[in-house]
Amino acid sequence: MTELTNLTVAQIRDGHRAGDFSAVEVAEAFNANVAGAKALNAFIVETPDHALAAAKQADADRSAGSLKPLSGVPIGMKDLFATNGVQTTAASHMLEGFVPRYESTVSAKLWDAGCGMLGKLNLDQFAMGSSNETSYFGNVISPWKRNDGGNAALAPGGSSGGSSAAIAARLCPAATGTDTGGSIRQPAAFVGISGIKPTYGRCSRWGIVAFASSLDQAGPMARDVRDCAIMLENMAGFDPKDATSLDLPVPNWEAALSSDLKGKKVGIPKEYRLEGIDPEIDAMWDAGIAMLKDAGAEVVEISLPHTKYALPTYYIIAPAEASSNLARYDGVRYGLRDLPQGAGLQDMYAATRADGFGPEVKRRIMIGTYVLSAGFYDAYYTQAQKVRTLIARDFDNAFAHCDVILAPTAPSAAFGLGEKTADPLSMYLNDVFAVPASLAGLPAMSVPAALNREGLPLGLQIIGKAFDEQGVLNAGLAIEERAGFTARAEKWW
């Protein structure tokens, strides 16, 4: 029998259903992997009992003939999702020790579908970062190493870096992520797994610690496209508790998976050919184009003329929303409170927030506060909103000529931890290809496509029309089948 922790979500689901193994065996195998991988620092809290309890229930349900869609599948939960009775920190000192008495809609749906929780996954603090280095609980280390004989610790990407590392290291078969400006896709690309950010509004934001409300969107990360489809089906759905939730039925994405792209048009945005980019990225992109042609698609060049404004636009809108969303962490009702002797209310705010937020979070709060200030609001925020509209219109125009768009996920492979921390701008640049789809609220996924010369994974990104997750998944599947990406990180932890 293959090692249970090498199985995909679909294989665990089907194998459990067929009686090949018990859910408890699966949970125990993953619990053991989690316990043995402390060196990766992928989890902030481990919850082996939660996984086991769900597994026992899954086994009982199997005996009773009442299996649920994901019975027997243990998963990792990004520590941005509120979990009832389990510490929820957003990887911040501010929320260290905070135990919610409520369950996020997405996690509740997964538990209802039969999943168990292996633990709360590490991330960039308040989901702000692209390398996981802003976590208060220490950075996650990617299971991958360069093949140069060196032993440099690499970034697992961010902000969903705990999710990406845990899946790549076989600590869980799938995990939740959230994507505000690439936080699912970039870490997925960095560790050679798949991840999809659905259309804005597909997954409820209720119970997810907010970063930038108009951009935040939950999605699954897993080893392959099918698993992403299965997970997304069990995460998505209208939620009356989220006013921005889409009131649409959830399609059966898994059942409709098809890598036959005959009659489909794939758009290649010319503005994504960046000056001075690593030629390996362009080569991978060209290989991806060939794969989609091979799957029957017609390839057309398209133009997204406002692409170069996407990153600056994102870094106005996201911090603006964050500066307001994070105002609630004030030491008054929950979380950290620093109340120096004799301090008044203002002193308490200052001390609590100075201590509770890390440098990147403070940087974004300050940027956001600045761009919303009287006298600057129109020049920054209003202007950024206008550009955001133009970027969305670019996509509308492009989708008049194609069904999906193919592009690289990130401009580089995983970088070394510490390599970019001194220069926030170069860190921000890592999301250059991911941010436009976020600003437009479009579904987008990353699938592993190749290894670079250093032996590190590279990912291709598929961007779809609003609500067309199916088109995105299908194109992803066509690449997956042709790329034959089977590489995995050698265990060193």
Partner: protein, 488 residues
């Protein structure tokens, strides 16, 4: 035009007043959460996860609160914006869990409207006046700090946090404390008719920010001050009087009025500075990204309009058309409960003019004496209609009606039953009346002489004497006729 003027050393000053009234929307649930809104509940017993701004919580607009604000807008004949949007007003305070208040700065739900204050000569309002209302927007209320619970700390009660408020912003159209008072009373009356706010100023359901400036008549507007959270009509008027006087004295002594926020201290009847414009907050307003723009469809608006009751102005006009005096019409329409009670009385068949006189004098007098509201009047409109019917058809006289009403209040019995039981029916029996007239004239021969000598005013005396002899039960018209005949 009102001629309210402050007399300063340099001449007369005109006062310019604008009011921002915060009215709590009548709703079982808060603006963006399902938590309850009852007044006076145990601290922090009406707080949802959303109201406490727990991590990951999201606001969802409460349709009923929007509906009430739209109906209010329609009641002041305002433009209803089918597309509006919520903005965040960012500031830190311990009673504001989110760190921002969800409000509407850029695109309010309700646009330009107005209301009319009635003439009130006694109060110095010589003619009816239209007061412009710039907008109504909806927003969240904050919680409440309690400073008396602990020697060194303040406590926070979040029961009110997230409760829906309408902010009703007037134009600077008022020129005297009396006009401002009339405006608040009229607005309160409309809100209570519509049912969108209980108007209870003591419980804080309605409070006003009072903007005051002074100028020499005909000059440009002066610099205004804003006195926050004034919670009675009397205080609104006191604030304006005091603040206008303070500003005039300040200017005349060489100072300048600074734009600032002030607080009113009712115990000392004075305002004091809270903060000036220089240290005003930068609220960093921006559209709330948790909420989509609010779009209202025609069916929703039609339902809102159809659900509006007859409003005070329309009711007043109807009463005037039925011959009711302006004074009575004002009194009857001021409070929705009284107006509804009166309308029920009319529906039960009472004649408008007589009914209006009776309600404003007899009924209100009795309620006043008993310390009761009209809502729990011991006499129902149907019972009152029965009583007034007996007067109208001549069964009893107005004088007897007063006695019957007293007995109704005491016993709760119906008017007809009391009249029967007590034998109070009016008589038109000419024989009996003529017999009493003969006695009265015989007993007052001197007065009969005077009357016949031209002192016709004595006629009333004979009527009174005859009625007295008949114990009030004689039909006054018959008495008149028979007396005239007897006196030749």
């Amino acid at each position: 035009m009102t001629d309210y003027r402050i007399k300063g050393e340099t001449g007369e000053w005109e006062v310019v007043i604008g009011l921002e009234v915060h009215a709590q929307v009548t709703s079982n649930a808060k603006l963006f959460s399902g938590a309850a809104t009852a007044f006076g509940a145990e601290p922090n017993s009406q707080v949802s996860l959303v109201d406490a701004a727990m991590p990951g919580m999201l606001p969802v607009p409460n349709r009923e609160c929007i509906r009430q604000a739209v109906r209010t807008g329609m009641a002041i004949e305002a433009e209803i914006n089918k597309w509006s949007r919520f903005d965040r007003k960012n500031y830190f305070y311990a009673d504001l869990p989110q760190g921002y208040q969800i409000s509407q700065l850029y695109h309010p739900l309700v646009g330009e409207g107005s209301l009319t204050i009635e003439e009130d000569e006694k109060a110095g309002i010589p003619e009816a006046k239209r007061i412009g209302i710039e907008r109504i927007h909806v927003e969240q209320d904050a919680g409440k700090l309690m400073h008396d619970q602990h020697p060194t700390m303040s406590y926070v009660d979040l029961n009110r946090s997230g409760v829906a408020l309408m902010e009703i912003v007037s134009r600077p159209d008022m020129r005297s404390p009396a006009e401002a008072g009339a405006y608040v009373r009229k607005l309160r009356s409309i809100l209570r008719y519509v049912g969108s706010c209980d108007g209870n100023m003591e419980e804080g359901s309605m409070r006003a920010d009072v903007n005051v400036s002074v100028r020499k008549p005909g000059d440009e507007f002066g610099t205004r001050t804003e006195t926050k959270n004034v919670n009675s009509v009397r205080f609104v008027m006191a604030v304006i009087e005091g603040e206008a006087k303070r500003q005039v004295e300040l200017i005349e002594s060489g100072g300048t009025v600074v734009q600032e926020t002030r607080l009113y201290d009712p115990d000392r009847n004075e305002t004091r500075s809270m903060r000036s414009k220089e240290d005003a907050h930068d609220y960093r307003y921006f559209p709330d990204p948790d909420l989509l723009p609010l779009e209202l469809d025609d069916a929703f608006l039609a339902e809102c309009r159809a659900s509006l009751p007859e409003l005070p102005d329309a009711k007043r006009a109807r009463y005037l058309g039925e011959g009711i005096s302006a004074y009575n019409a004002d009194v009857l329409t001021a409070e929705v409960e009284a107006a509804l009670w009166f309308d029920t009385l009319l529906e039960a068949g009472a004649k408008p003019v007589a009914a209006a006189n009776w309600v404003t004098s007899e009924l209100f007098g009795a309620l006043n004496r008993l310390g009761r509201d009209i809502a729990d009047s011991p006499v129902s409109p149907a019972q009152a209609a029965e009583l007034l019917g007996l007067v109208a058809d001549g069964t009893i006289s107005g004088t007897i009606a007063k006695q019957v009403f007293e007995k109704m209040l005491e016993s709760g019995d119906g008017a007809a039953a009391i009249v029967d039981r007590e034998g109070l029916k009016q008589t038109s029996d000419t024989g009996a009346i003529e017999a009493e007239i003969a006695k009265v004239l015989a007993a007052n021969a001197d007065k009969v002489e005077q009357y016949k000598g031209g002192k016709e005013a004595l006629f009333g005396f004979f009527v009174g004497q005859t009625m007295k002899a008949m114990q009030g039960k004689a039909n006054p018209q018959v008495v008149n006729e028979l007396l005239k005949k007897a006196l030749g």
